[in-house]
């Protein structure tokens, strides 16, 4: 069938021609004459995320110029990103650290982190389900980059969308709490696949929820075979030393000082 007008003929019109042409359809017997003038295909072959990726490169350049290691923390809501950051920032990092935290609404997370004495910028995304490189760029304008060695980016709680948006960070950390179920990595492979480290949080609750460690590790291994796995608890401090060691030895430009 004719793709263009559904006239039933097998004639292929020149709609894939790269050059301009005009012709009238004679096969309609003159009853419905029309022209296909100048139909052409323009090759684009460009990433839909190219605008974000360009901005991410700019952020990456700023981090490199200032010797900052940027860590993007991603998880579903309630996994304990803020609690783990509070623990991380209370224990160490010497003040040369800041946090950018994203949520749809409220400044609660930034307030919690400021309470432990850290510079924190809240990005409220409105209805947007992730942070993108542009939002991060504007958050960075509010931070004294020359005074920082570390930047933690607490992404919007969401296991889907943040995976698609490069922010310019060096390290990606995906968190999974024992209360969420061992097969979460299999259900959300896209985000786990980009992880440099996977943190299993709230391990102090593991026994109560009968968490199956073997299944969880197998699920992570299956979608993120290279990711470093750390079992941790913000409440007890379990896993903290391993986390710091990992941060120190994972491509960071400076070491974490205690």
């Amino acid at each position: 069938m004719c793709d263009e007008c559904g006239c039933g003929l097998t004639t292929v019109h020149g709609h894939t021609h790269a050059h301009a042409h005009d012709h009238t359809h004679a096969h309609h017997g003159g009853t419905t004459p029309h022209t296909h003038d100048d139909e052409r295909v323009i090759e684009v072959r460009q990433s839909i995320l190219s605008r974000n990726d360009r901005l991410a490169e700019r952020n990456r350049g700023m981090f490199m110029a200032h010797g900052i290691t940027a860590v993007n923390l991603m998880s579903s809501p309630g996994t304990g990103k803020t609690a783990w950051l509070e623990r991380t920032l209370q224990e160490s990092l010497d003040g040369r650290v800041a946090v950018v935290t994203g949520d749809l609404a409220t400044e609660n997370d930034a307030a919690r982190l400021q309470a432990v004495g850290v510079k924190a910028v809240q990005v409220t995304t409105g209805t947007t389900c992730h942070l993108d490189a542009h939002m991060l760029h504007h958050a960075l304008e509010q931070l004294p980059l020359a005074e920082l060695d570390w930047l933690f980016i607490e992404n919007v709680g969401n296991l889907v969308c943040p995976a698609s948006f490069d922010l310019g960070e060096q390290l990606r950390v995906v968190m999974l709490s024992v209360t969420e179920g061992e097969d979460k990595p299999l259900k959300y492979p896209v985000i786990f696949q980009v992880a440099d480290a996977v943190l299993i949080t709230k391990v102090d609750l593991a026994e109560a929820v009968e968490f199956d460690w073997e299944r969880a590790h197998a699920a992570i291994r299956q979608v993120a075979p290279r990711a470093h796995i750390i079992e941790c608890s913000a409440k007890t401090g379990a896993g903290y030393d391993e986390w710091r060691h990992w941060l120190d030895h994972s491509g960071g430009t400076t070491s974490v000082s205690s």
Partner: protein
């Protein structure tokens, strides 16, 4: 949820390209979406069709091709279906997390008049 933003980026890119080429109307957008791009094809299509209203792409067909995620085993020199094989090379059993395709999110071409 982020398909709306991505659809807007896609349309902006398509309209800018078509305008630059002095086209009057966009007839078709051809888009590639990788299996591990994090984008739901039907949500993207819905967003594209909704956002295209009132633009030069209002009547455009949205042709979206899904690209299967394929991993590559360096030892065997073979690419394989990453999701079906869980990144495990069907020949030698090694875990191969490097993808050769499957994360695409690309406007391939626009058909215009």
């Amino acid at each position: 949820m982020h398909e709306v933003g991505l659809a807007q980026e896609t349309l902006d890119l398509a309209v800018a390209t078509a305008t630059q080429q002095q086209a009057r109307e966009i007839r078709c957008l051809r888009i590639e979406v990788g299996q591990l791009s994090g984008v739901v094809v039907e949500a993207l299509r819905f967003a594209l069709e909704t956002l295209a209203a009132g633009t030069m792409a209002a009547a455009a067909t949205m042709e979206i091709e899904e690209i299967v995620a394929r991993a590559y085993c360096v030892a065997c020199g073979e690419a394989f279906d990453a999701m079906a094989q869980a990144y495990r090379c069907p020949q030698c059993g090694a875990i191969c997390p490097d993808l050769v395709q499957g994360r695409e999110l690309r406007l391939v071409s626009v058909e215009v008049i």
